[in-house]
């Protein structure tokens, strides 16, 4: 497939193709709707492209294969959807603790439980607050288009290797399944960094490398935690967001991923009705663009957070706004996708009660 020429692709396939172009050396996964196109695409393409796709016996096995391969220095990825990502949490905690670079993608479906195969954003807490046990974070990227499903694979591998940390692309079933125009990056454009810490066989010229997450002495465990926290502080500079509309809008919408696209349509409809509305879309959910939200919220009469869940990111928005402006929430869940019209109703209600001409 040529670079530069736009292609019409499903989000899941664009992600998989982009991973091969980004030099992914191994993929370990387990089928689950609505992300199975990733593993299917790689099953057909990886063997032709000097890469490996291995279907694991479970998501638990898949994430631990990622651990082993990442520890051995390879550029590795796994993908799944909500229940499968839940099964991976222990492994993700180990990977974060061992500081192994790898890329994960969660093509979210509705939950809790087996839930539904329809799109949702109910795994926000799990993705940005840790998910597994202990004090750790992942860098979390939230694509809003098939183009970003592809692009964030390159960004994700680069960030993972820069910071020796797991990175998650937090997508959803709609972005995974829908087809859009996408321009793919050329193959081989992401260089491989040196990984002198990897377990590749102890050469005579160096001490042995070992990868461990076990620190029996409290002092050394705390030192590891302090090192991780210092890394997370450093990672804050990677914050990314997109502002659609004016920074001094009267109604500030905050939404990520698919919901941000719907919100930008709703904001456009509001502006046509004379309400100055804007959308702030966090692109990195961790690190979270708290400063940008606080800055924009200062000018706003009201903030509206829209999510495909029962209210998760809104907690971080409230922390960012810190009481300066009322923060409202509109959520749909279980696979229901909010329409621009129902968001417009919320925008109009905020404008009516808070903006006095």
């Amino acid at each position: 497939m040529d670079s530069g020429t736009p292609k019409l692709m499903k989000g899941n396939e664009a992600l998989a193709e982009s991973a091969l172009r980004a030099g992914m050396q191994a993929y370990f996964g387990y089928p689950i709707t609505p992300q199975s196109e990733v593993i299917e695409y790689l099953a057909a393409e990886a063997p032709k492209r000097h890469s490996l796709m291995l279907q694991a016996e479970s998501e638990v096995a898949a994430i631990n294969m990622v651990f082993g391969a990442a520890g051995a220095g390879a550029r590795v990825m796994t993908t799944s959807s909500s229940p499968g990502i839940s099964l991976m949490q222990e492994g993700i905690s180990y990977i974060a603790a061992a500081e192994l670079p790898c890329l994960l993608a969660n093509v979210q479906r509705g939950g809790p439980g087996l839930g539904t195969i329809q799109p949702a954003q109910g795994d926000y807490f799990q993705a940005v607050k840790g998910g597994g046990h202990g004090d750790y974070h992942m860098i979390v990227l939230a694509p809003a288009s098939v183009q970003e499903m592809a692009d964030f694979v390159f960004d994700g591998f680069a960030l993972a290797e820069k910071y020796r940390t797991p990175v998650m692309i937090l997508s959803d079933g709609a972005l995974g399944q829908m087809m859009e125009k996408v321009v793919l990056k050329p193959e081989g454009s992401l260089p491989y960094p040196e990984k002198p810490w990897a377990t590749t066989g102890k050469l005579k010229s160096r001490e042995r490398n070992f990868i461990t997450t076990l620190h029996m002495e409290s002092e050394s465990m705390e030192a590891v935690n302090n090192r991780l926290q210092a890394k997370y502080a450093e990672i804050q500079k990677e914050v990314r967001y997109q502002l659609i509309g004016a920074e001094d809008a009267d109604v500030l919408l905050v939404a990520f991923g698919l919901t941000a696209r719907i919100c930008s349509k709703a904001a456009e409809m509001a502006r046509e009705k004379g309400i100055n509305a804007a959308v702030l879309r966090p692109i990195t959910l961790y690190p979270f663009p708290s400063d940008a939200i606080a800055r924009c919220a200062k000018h706003a009469a009201g903030v509206l957070t829209v999510e495909m869940n029962a209210g998760q990111m809104v907690e971080d928005v409230r922390l960012a706004v810190n009481g300066a402006t009322p923060v409202h929430f509109k959520g749909r869940s279980g696979g229901m996708i909010p329409s621009p019209e129902e968001i417009l109703v919320e925008i109009e209600a905020i404008a009516k009660h808070t903006i006095h001409a």
Binding site: Q25, A26, F28, L52, L54, A56, E57, S58, V60, A61, A62, N64, M65, V66, F67, G68, A69, A70, G71, A72, G73, A74, V76, E90, G91, Y94, T199, T200, G201, K202, L203, K204, R208, N209, F210, I211, T212, T213, L214
Partner: protein, 265 residues
């Protein structure tokens, strides 16, 4: 001059006395004192495993995986590149290592709780895929690290801290013979059960490990060695009593010997 003299080891001087070196610890074991309890089988198994790696000259080409259990600290003692894995997941982690480093020698070193309880799925599927790795399965019929709870391989009637009245098959099932189970899988290339309770047994284990690394070069499937071991602390016995109990009680349930050997020499 006899042949013995011709290959005699160099002399060392200790307390002004010149002494012949007849045995040395391999450099593939670190200088770190082991934390294992007196009489525990792990120390001997570590030693022969590292001796084989030394003698075969594959230290630079070997990666080990030791998951949660008493041997989780194996990386402190084994002077090779190693990964600690989550409980039960050594089969998966070793798969990840071997698949991206296909020309390296990869082994997992797992206990009974790890390999045959929480990690049963990973074990069976690693062998079923015929991963070209060596799985070392240290079976001492008890959870040592957590303080002597029942293992999947605990014997019927065996008293542990979670079977205080003895393991009762009606309540908690039977000792799991996972080695016989994996031997049924086409992906298993070489399956054997050994022990380290006598010097002769140690020599046989060493041979089995040597063969396993040689077989790994053939890329024909998984090599699997169960080592019937003791746990003097967990069994609440002296090391000597533990080895006697092992012979009397463990061997009838877990008989020593080859279970599956390669057809080609």
């Amino acid at each position: 001059m006899s042949g013995k003299e011709a290959c005699m080891e160099p002399l060392v001087t200790i307390n002004d006395v010149e002494m012949e070196v007849v045995y040395e610890k391999t450099d593939v074991l670190t200088e770190t004192p082991m934390h294992y309890c007196p009489g525990c089988s792990h120390g001997v198994i570590h030693k022969v495993l590292m001796e084989v790696i030394d003698e075969m000259g594959i230290q630079e080409k070997t990666v080990g995986v030791a998951p949660v259990g008493c041997s989780v600290f194996a990386y402190n003692y084994m002077n090779i590149d190693m990964q600690e894995a989550a409980h039960g997941r050594a089969g998966a982690a070793a798969t990840g290592v071997k698949r991206v480093l296909p020309d390296k020698y990869v082994f997992s070193y797992q206990g009974d709780g790890d390999l045959a309880a929480i990690g049963t799925g990973e074990t069976i599927h690693a062998v079923n895929r015929g991963e070209h790795i060596l799985m070392l399965f240290v079976n001492n019929a008890i959870y040592g690290m957590t303080g002597g709870q029942m293992a999947p391989t605990s014997l019927l009637g065996q008293v542990t801290s979670t079977t205080p009245f003895g393991r009762d098959a009606a309540a908690i099932g039977f000792p799991l013979k996972i080695t016989e189970l994996v031997a049924q899988l086409p992906g298993a290339y070489y399956v054997t059960r050994q022990s380290v309770h006598t010097p002769a047994a140690v020599r046989k284990l060493k041979k089995a490990i040597q063969m396993s690394f040689k077989y790994q070069e053939r890329k024909k499937g998984t090599c699997f060695i169960e080592i019937v071991s003791n746990c003097p602390s967990g069994w609440k016995m002296t090391p000597l009593q533990a080895n006697e109990w092992l012979e009397k009680n463990m061997f009838p349930e877990f008989p020593i010997g080859d279970i599956k050997v390669p057809k080609e020499a």
